[in-house]
Each structure stands twice: as C-alpha cells, then as structure tokens.
Subunit: 439 residues, 2 copies
C-alpha cells in the first residue's frame, strides 16, 4: 500500500499517532485512517459527493481514485456497483454538494452521478498534497488530538442523520466520557454579543441541565456559547465544543484558557484537520454538527439574523427538538428567539425543566385554571358558586342565606351548598346573625 507515494511504514506510523491509546476501538487499517485524515482536509465540510464516494468505496480506494486521476465514468461505475449491491442502502441523492448551488439536483442517472463526480474532482484535486496531510497528522499527534471514525464505538451515532453530508471523520481532544455523553446532550447556542440577561440565562440553563444529567454542547464563541461551557464546567458537568477550524488552534483566541479547560474535562471536536483555519463557511457547517450531535438545540439569545438561527435551522431540518428562550421585545438580541418561536415553531422554553422536557423528560403538567385571578385566595380551587358566595360575604356584617342568595344571584340551596365548602376551607364562618367571610 502506498499513498501519495508514502511507504506503508510511514503511513502506519502517522496513523498510529492519532489512533493510539483509545481502548475498545477497532484496529482500523492504517491506510484507511490515513486516507480519512487526508479526506478531512481535501473535501470542505458537508461535501455530499465526497461523502457518497467515501461511503461507497472506502476512504483509501476513493483517495487512490482521485490521486490516480481515474475518470468520473470509471469512479461512477464503481459507486453504482456498490449501491446496487446494497439492497438496504438509503435512497442516496447524487450531486448533492451543498456548496455548489448550480450543480444541486436530485439525480439518479449515471450521467448525473458522473457530472457530480467530475465537479467534485475539480474541487478536490487542487488540494491533493501529501505535505498537508503529514503536517496535520504530526500536529494532531503533538497536541494529543485523535481521529474518530464512524466505525468507532465513541462515534456520535446521531451525526449519521446527516447522511452523505455527515463528516468523513472527526478530530477531537479531551476525555472519552465527553463523547459518550453526546447522546444525552443539549446544545445551548446564542449571540456572541450577548447581554447581561443572556449570559445570566445561559448560566442558569447550563447549570440546570447539568444538574439534570445532561451534557452541554456549544460552539465556544463569545457570549452565550462561552457562558454555557463555563457554567457546565463550574457545575462539574460534561461539555463539548464543536469548532470550525482545527482542534489545535483554539478560536476565538480569547477563549484559549476556556478551551483548554474544556479539553481537560470535556471535549473539543472538529471535522477539519489540525492547522485548518475557521472560515465563515466552516462556521455554518460546524453548526450542522452541533444540531446533529445533540438531542435538542436551544437558542438562548439571538439577533434577527444571528448565526444561531442557522444552527436552529439544521436542528429543525434534522427533526431535532428546537427550543428558544424569550426575552424583552425591546432587546434586539432576543429578536431571533422570538422569530424562531413565532415563525419556526420553536418551543418557548423558560427554565431548565422545560428545556429537559424537549427531549422527552416530561414533568407533571398542571392544568391551567382560567378562573383564578391575580388576587385570588391562593391554591384552593373554588366552584363558581363558591366564588360568587364568597364575593357576597362580608368580613364584618353577618349575612343571612336569603341575603346572600340575593347578592350572589343564586338560589338559597346553591348558597347553602357553597357555604358548606367555604366553611370547610375556613373561608366562611356561621355566627348567630348569619355568615361572615374569613381569610
């Protein structure tokens, strides 16, 4: 096996550096590990044609195919053979590179597959560079980053809901327990320019979810994200940060020490290799991982055009529960949350209990008693007759049943019945001259 002209020993050595030390993981062929690492740098996040190709042929064969400049017709034939052999294979949509609007189409003919592959090859070839792969693997080994593959037990299975847009591999640093906690995690995301209100509710939400046994997922940005991670750490909870660049370069740099603490107690994850810079495109694609990896997404504060709405959109598209925390309508930083509630059916959540309920942990629902008012006498529910007789009673002047009947507009029988209940509650008392109100 050679790849990029590297000999087998070199490939094995480089692969082992990012796969060693993980108990319970299958010993993947070094070539496949190396090829996945290469692919994570060749295809931009969310490249559906790359996803389809690698899923069909394996990363190693797929890499060989583009290194050796096989024709789209030859590659297409191989892919179609594999798909034909898999009767249970999902209904894959070809040509679904989300980055190329002009090639986006539902296609299931050979010609359309070949066209998608041709476009893909033109995207991938400029990046075929063994030096980049080697450098990223060496850098990963240096910072104790590990490459996680979809066959690993710690792979967050819900990410596969992204289908051909799922990441080809994930780079991560941290403790294994953080990856294991992802199925029971909730994403808290929001504005970078958070208000004091936003930071307060992020802290309460994160700590409250940790108390309820959830891990907290976010994007390590300033504002809401940072506060969500910080509060989770402060509560000794699990927290996972998904990054838009390599896990060796913490972004934003002002969160360097926070991210270091997350690595020590939780995990940072990226689909981009070490050395990769975060770009706007990668932030948008990173958001799909946050939505897919967590059991629910909650937007805590977001402007009208906030990037958090992008994460919310992914969560909705994946059928994940979506919550939004309301805020003052006078705060532009809450406008995005209200928009999600109003136009996108996000659930209005106001405390950690309601957030936990999003993933099915329902608390007891207390029926809404519309007949009570602000100044109501408290928790004792009253019948309509009791309300009217209580209205008619005086605390000072004892009133007869006949008088109460006239005042309350009720028959004497109904008044007597209501007085019985009020008497039991301690709300009415009979004296010699008649009934008086108590309480």
């Amino acid at each position: 096996m050679t790849m990029f002209g590297l000999d087998e020993t070199r490939v094995s050595e480089l692969s082992a550096g990012v796969r060693g030390g993980m108990p319970g993981e299958p010993p993947e062929a070094a070539g496949e590990v190396f090829a996945r690492a290469a692919w994570s740098g060749i295809a931009e996040p969310g490249d559906g044609t790359a996803g389809l190709l690698v899923a069909s042929l394996g990363a190693s064969v797929a890499l060989t195919a583009i290194l050796e400049a096989w024709s789209p017709v030859r590659i297409g034939a191989l892919v179609r053979d594999v798909l034909a052999d898999e009767p249970g294979a999902p209904d894959v949509v070809f040509a679904t590179n989300p980055s190329s609007d002009h090639t986006e189409a539902d296609a299931d003919t050979s010609a359309e597959l070949e066209q998608a592959l041709d476009a893909g090859l033109q995207r991938w070839r400029p990046r075929l560079n063994s030096g980049d792969v080697i450098r990223s693997l060496q850098q990963a080994a240096r910072v104790d980053a590990r490459l996680l593959l979809a066959t690993d037990t710690l792979w967050p299975a819900t990410i596969d809901d992204l289908e051909q847009h799922a990441p080809l591999a994930l780079w991560w640093r941290g403790v294994p327990g953080a990856l294991a906690a992802l199925p029971n995690s909730i994403a808290l995301v929001g504005a970078r320019a958070a208000t004091g209100y936003g930071e307060h509710i992020a802290m309460e939400a994160s700590a409250g979810l940790v108390d309820r046994g959830f891990a907290v997922v976010s994007g390590a940005a300033y504002g809401i994200d940072g506060m969500a991670h910080r509060a989770a750490l402060a509560s000794d909870g699990m927290t996972v940060a998904f990054l838009a660049g390599g896990v060796d370069r913490f972004y934003p740099s002002g969160h360097d020490s926070l991210l270091t603490r997350i690595v020590a107690a939780g995990a940072v994850i990226s689909e981009l290799p070490c050395g990769a810079a975060p770009t706007k495109w990668r932030f948008l694609q990173r958001n799909r991982l946050i939505a897919a990896a967590s059991a629910a997404t909650i937007v805590l504060e977001a402007g009208w055009r906030s990037g958090s709405l992008n994460t919310a959109g992914h969560a909705s598209a994946l059928g994940r529960p979506l919550g939004a925390v309301p805020g003052p309508i006078t705060s532009p930083t809450s406008a995005g949350c209200h928009r999600l509630i109003r136009e996108f059916a996000a659930v209005c959540v106001t405390n950690p209990t309601e957030m936990a309920e999003l993933v099915g942990e329902r608390s007891v629902q207390v029926p809404l008693d519309f007949s009570d008012t602000d100044t109501g006498p408290g928790p004792i529910p009253r019948t309509s007759d009791q309300v009217r007789v209580f209205d008619a009673l005086s605390a000072r002047s004892p009133r007869t049943v006949a008088d109460l009947s006239r005042r309350a507009g009720l028959s004497t029988t109904a008044v007597r019945g209501a007085l019985g209940g009020l008497d039991l509650d301690g709300a009415a008392q009979e004296r010699e001259a008649g009934w008086v109100r108590r309480l």
Copy 2:
C-alpha cells in the same frame, strides 16, 4: 301593561331616560326596555338559563313569568314551543348556567329544561325588586348612561358568539363612534402589577394599533389596562373599557379621571346596571365580553395565575386570535405570557405590526436566510460558492484562481463563477497578481 305594578306611563318615562337621544335606534317598546334593564340586575352575568328564557320569550314576558311565579313546567313548555317554531334556531344547550357547576349538563329533554328553569327561578326571585330597577334607571339617566339592546345597530355583533351566555343588554356611556369601532378593535390586557417594561410595551402596542386604525379595548384596571387606554387616548385613538360593575361607579377609584376621559372620547360598557358593585365573579364574566367584543386579544404581561389568562381563555374558546408578548424569563410578570405561548398556542407577538397581523392584516413575510450570520456582510444574499470564495480571499494579498480553488475547496470553474458575482457586488476585485477581497 304593568310591570312590578308600575303603570305604563311610569315605565315609558323610565325607559325613555336611558334610550333617548340615540339616532337610528329602533323605538323599542318601553316595556321591553324596562324589562331588559330589570333582567340586567336580576340575572348574574353569563346566566345561560336567563339568556335562553329571555331570548325565547322576550324580556317582558320572561319577567312577567317570574313576577307572576309561573311554574317551571309552564315556562318550559312556552320555551320549547318557541324553539320548535324556529327551524333555524341554534342547537341550544339547556341548563347551562355556568355559575352552577352541579346543574351543568347537556340536556334536551323537557325534564332537564324544567330543572334548569326551576334552579334559575330560585336564583332570580330573591332579586325581584322594583325599587332596584327604578333606582338603576334613574341613576343611569342622571349620568347619561344608555341601555344598548341586541337589536340596536350599535350592538357589538360579535358578542352574540357567546350565544345564551351573551349579555341580556349592555349599559354604556361615551360616544357612539366607540361602539361602531368595536368590530375593528384589539383587546390589550395584562397584569395590574405591571413592570416598567410592561407599561412601556403597553404604550407602544396601544399607540401602534391606533396608528394602524384599530380601537383599543381593555378593562380599565391598574397597570397594563390603564396604560393601554391612556396611550390610545394620547394618540387620539378610540378606546373602550369594559367594567365589572355599573358604569356610574368607576372602578378602580384611582382611575376615576382616566375613565372620565374615556367616556368623553371613547366608551365604558358594562352588562350590570348602575349601582352594581364589581365582584370577583363579575370580573371573570367581564373578561368574556372583552374577548368577545374585540377581533383579537393580546396579553402583554401576566403572572402565572393572572386574571388576564381568563380573558385569554375566553378568546381561545371563542376562536378569536390570541397573542402574547414575551418578556424576560426572569420576570414573574411575564410567566403567564410564556405559558400562553408554550401551552395554549398563543402567537408570540413583539410589535404592533405582528399584533395587527393577528386579525389578518398580514405584512410581507421575509424568508429567513439561515445561511447568514451576525457578522454577515449585510443585505446582499450570497450563494454558497460565493461565501466560500469570499472566505478564501485576502484583502491584502492578491490570490490566483488556482490558489482560491485550493483554499475554498471548489473547482476553478466554480471559483470563477463566484468571483463574477462578488465582482458585481463590489466584494472582490481583480488585480494584476490576482483577486483581492473588498468591503
């Protein structure tokens, strides 16, 4: 015609005092006016049996029946005759006095109707007092209050959606235009213990709705209600206050001057005769009139058990659009609004435009572009390729198409296409050494 032993002249005189001076109203028989006035004091608001009886026999005959102590069997037979003669009559539910839980039942047999009438007679008889009727009519004439009947052109037709629970008559003071504006009104209700935030949004909402041509309906309470009325008046808008007691006694007394101003420029309305005191029961029943008379109900601030939720419940039950304004989740005064949004499908409304949309005045919907972020370059929508090429451009170092292709993970063709668009936008510029980012 005698009633309570009063002669015809006296009845006509008393009736004329509360019916005179209204142009365009039909000259109702004085006896019917007098009897409606009497009924408004005999039956408590929302008494469905009284509603059925008066609707079937007319107020005058119905009053004679109870004054002369006709038997429930006799009255029931008359009612059933009328209903049988009306093939288009609604499917009336008997025995539906909402104030008597124990008699509440779907009933359509003679026995059940008679039972409901028997219970009704027991409620009404203690209040048969000609002195009360005369005093309330005299007091009404003194304060220029008028009696509005369901046959009047100014009667708010939507109130009839309350069916047998509709008011038997409405007492009101103010300008006729205020009644005419009710079909185009929106109710703004909320907490008495409003916060500064709540008062601010009530003011903005009321003024904004007036600007859009709506009348503002509310309950004249302290807090949100008062601010809604005040802002409507300040904007030279129409406003109508529904009261829980007689229109001659303004409640709360602290709103005496506000209510005086409402009478001068709008209207106050009550189903209770002059002299009647507001009671808890009457506040709850008053809320059904607010919900029924306005085209939509919006709760601006409300505690978890606020009386405003009662109004909201009536609006929902009547199929009226219901809106709620969110607020800080840290404010107990917004908990009721969040609850309405979360559990009772209230629409989350954050400005007067959205409030107006509740009644069908829809503004243009701007589709939500999930691919934009906080720091996005503004209003120009970009294709995915453009986003990625823009990411890859530098403002200082010119880059070749090949370089951009590698950096963006796009084919050179796609890069050239994207650069074309960015060039047109002014976001990219070609120099001798390659392309640079602008903006």
